[in-house]
């Protein structure tokens, strides 16, 4: 299958998914609350007839349900997700403001998880049934099952408050100025503008929450890498490589690992979505000003439009992440090209 055809096909698959997400979000927003006006407007606006009528008008609340959905979709396409009750800003502009912090944290975490997971998985598979293998498997089991929010609290208390190894909550220290806004990711912006002290500060704030968030991913990737590498190491072509006299590290790294990692790549989209969801609790604990903490604050003040906005945004990112994975897959797995 040629590249353009493959990508077009994946893209066409994504469209009904995206539309479906908006349907579910719409249904929750309209069917679940006893009164959508009550849920979407601040308390003091409820008595104001003009505001209530304007809201009713804007979202087509007097129309039948399917028309309401079309109105909702139309507003959404224009980038209008309603107004946050707490911040009084349009939800879309709040999300734009808070998203880069979350992207930075989630991307850093997935890198941490990948490096640790693949490293441990290879050690575990190559030295199967050794002490190392056993230790790695215990680590993976704890990594996938220990609640991240408790890990965050313990990490913060131990490595920040007691030992002082890493910076604590927030993205930067009080005295460090923000880097100029280019991508919104502080580490990258400070690098691009050559502000080394800002970069160091941003990085030291990023490490602890990424380790915590990445540990869960690391646990899962360790397991996939281990079992997939064990399968590949038993195949004929690996035996052939060995019988040619290839040294073992080359056999593992060049022949076996490149194929063993295909299942890891498949999981990446799903894992990235999980990370964004896990970020709610982690950002709340680390005072990380991303969409997770935004959702946390919204939920404690019952800011319904804001929570709905976050959940829809993450669902969209999930679809996009899986699309990117499909894209990578084409290059990694040659079998797709010949079917």
């Amino acid at each position: 299958m040629p590249f353009y055809k493959y990508i077009l096909r994946r893209f066409l698959f994504a469209i009904p998914l995206v539309l479906g997400i908006t349907v579910i979000a719409f249904l929750i927003a309209n069917a679940v609350p006893a009164d959508p006006i009550n849920a979407n407007l601040p308390q003091n606006a409820l008595g104001n007839e003009r505001l209530v009528n304007a809201f009713r008008e804007k979202w087509g609340l007097d129309e039948p349900l399917h028309i309401q959905y079309l109105v909702y979709l139309g507003n959404l396409v224009r980038g209008d997700m309603g107004e946050s009750i707490k911040t009084r800003n349009p939800v879309a502009s709040d999300l734009r403001q808070f998203l880069p912090a979350t992207i930075e944290l989630a991307s850093f975490s997935i890198v941490v998880g990948l490096v640790m997971g693949i490293g441990f998985g290879v050690i575990s598979a190559v030295w199967r049934r050794s002490f190392h293998d056993y230790a790695v498997r215990v680590f993976a089991l704890i990594g996938v099952s220990f609640p991240v929010f408790l890990l965050a609290l313990i990490g913060l208390s131990l490595f920040h408050a007691q030992l002082g190894w890493f910076s604590g909550p927030g993205r930067l220290g009080f005295l460090t100025p923000k880097p100029p806004h280019i991508t919104g990711l502080y580490t990258i912006d400070s690098l691009l503008t050559g502000r080394w002290s800002t970069f160091r500060d941003a990085l030291s704030h990023l490490i602890l929450p990424s380790l915590v968030l990445g540990s869960y991913v690391a646990g899962i990737i360790t397991r996939i890498t281990r079992s997939s590498l064990l399968d590949v190491l038993g195949t004929d072509y690996v035996r052939t490589a060995r019988s040619k006299g290839q040294i073992e590290p080359l056999v593992v790294m060049r022949h076996a690992l490149s194929n063993a990692l295909i299942p890891v790549v498949t999981m990446l989209g799903v894992l990235y979505g999980n990370l964004l969801a896990g970020a709610v609790l982690i950002e709340a604990i680390f005072a990380w000003p991303g969409i997770g903490r935004y959702a946390f604050r919204a939920s404690t003040s019952q800011d319904f439009p804001a929570i709905m906005g976050v959940s829809m945004l993450i669902a969209f990112i999930y679809v996009v992440a899986n699309f990117v994975v499909d894209f990578l897959y084409f290059f990694l797995d040659p079998r797709i090209r010949y079917t």
Binding site: I28, A29, F149, G273, V319
Partner: protein, 278 residues
């Protein structure tokens, strides 16, 4: 008898299963006998003893109102664990029904229902649950309802697979040729033959349900603040971050429960997977 001893032998090779079972049993005992085990009243305030670190009088310390944390954690098991159980039971029923109908009807029904499950899976579980709880108003019942709405998808997919497999077997064929109707086939023939794996999956999923429930409650979307519910205790404890005993004990309570179920599930998979024996 021989089977039992072989099972016991395998169990000994997977000590994590045993550890998990012991922890779960211990918590069940706590749920039943909390009033006998707790040294104090979990709601009794004693302001002169507030924020005491663990000591001889208060084994796990006291909170900001001088309430005994050990007693609160023990009583908390009576809120969090049943809540998780209810979520799982309803999930199993709804998931089985949806999956069974999709698998049994096939065709357009199947397609529509499975696409719907995929949509639900695109949403991050905890955030969708947050949205629903916030819409309904935060309390225990609504947190449970929210988790039920967002968590049935795995059950539906599992059941659908089982039903599709069972549908083509000879005993279903036989029942059909004897004139059994669809409802009869679904509930009298297919249900007993597909429910066991779903129940096993559900029983191992209790840990995850409890983790999510505690997470919602940590976010302020569960019981009211004075409740000795684990997630709530952690969220109150976090505002007293340096008094680590306030959040560590309820946190470890959640962790022990979740990990116990993961250990059991993991060990069982090893024990039942013939490949791992080699």
């Amino acid at each position: 008898m021989a089977d039992a001893s072989r099972f016991w032998g395998r169990l000994r090779k997977n000590p994590e299963v045993l550890l998990g079972l012991v922890v779960v049993l211990a918590w069940i005992v706590v749920v039943i006998f909390a009033p006998l085990l707790a040294p104090y009243d979990p709601l009794q305030q004693n302001v002169s003893d507030r924020l005491q670190p663990p000591n001889d009088v208060y084994l796990l310390g006291t909170d900001e109102l001088g309430r005994d944390i050990l007693s609160r954690v023990l009583y908390g098991a009576r809120i969090t664990i049943p809540a998780g159980l209810v979520v799982i039971v309803v999930n199993t029923v709804i998931g089985w029904l949806i999956g069974a109908i999709a698998g049994f009807a096939g065709g357009a029904w199947d397609e529509a229902m499975m696409r719907t499950t995929e949509l639900f899976m695109a949403f991050p579980t905890i955030i969708l649950a947050m949205a629903i709880t916030a819409a309904l108003g935060p309390d225990i019942r609504n947190a449970v309802i929210a988790l039920v709405i967002v968590r049935w998808t795995d059950y539906a997919r599992l059941t659908r697979g089982l039903i599709i497999q069972a549908k083509t077997t000879e005993y279903v064929e036989a029942a059909r040729s004897l004139g059994a109707g669809n409802i009869y086939l679904l509930f009298r023939t297919l249900l007993p033959n597909s429910v066991a794996p779903v129940l096993v999956y559900g029983s191992l999923d209790i840990g995850n349900a409890i983790l999510l429930f505690a997470g919602l409650s940590f976010l302020g979307l569960g019981p009211e603040p004075s409740s000795p519910e684990w997630g709530r205790m952690i969220s109150v404890g976090v505002s007293f971050f340096d008094q680590w005993w306030m959040w560590l004990s309820p946190g470890l309570a959640v962790a022990s429960f979740v990990m116990a179920f993961n250990f059991i599930g993991d060990g069982l998979r090893d024990m039942l997977d013939p490949r791992s024996a080699t």
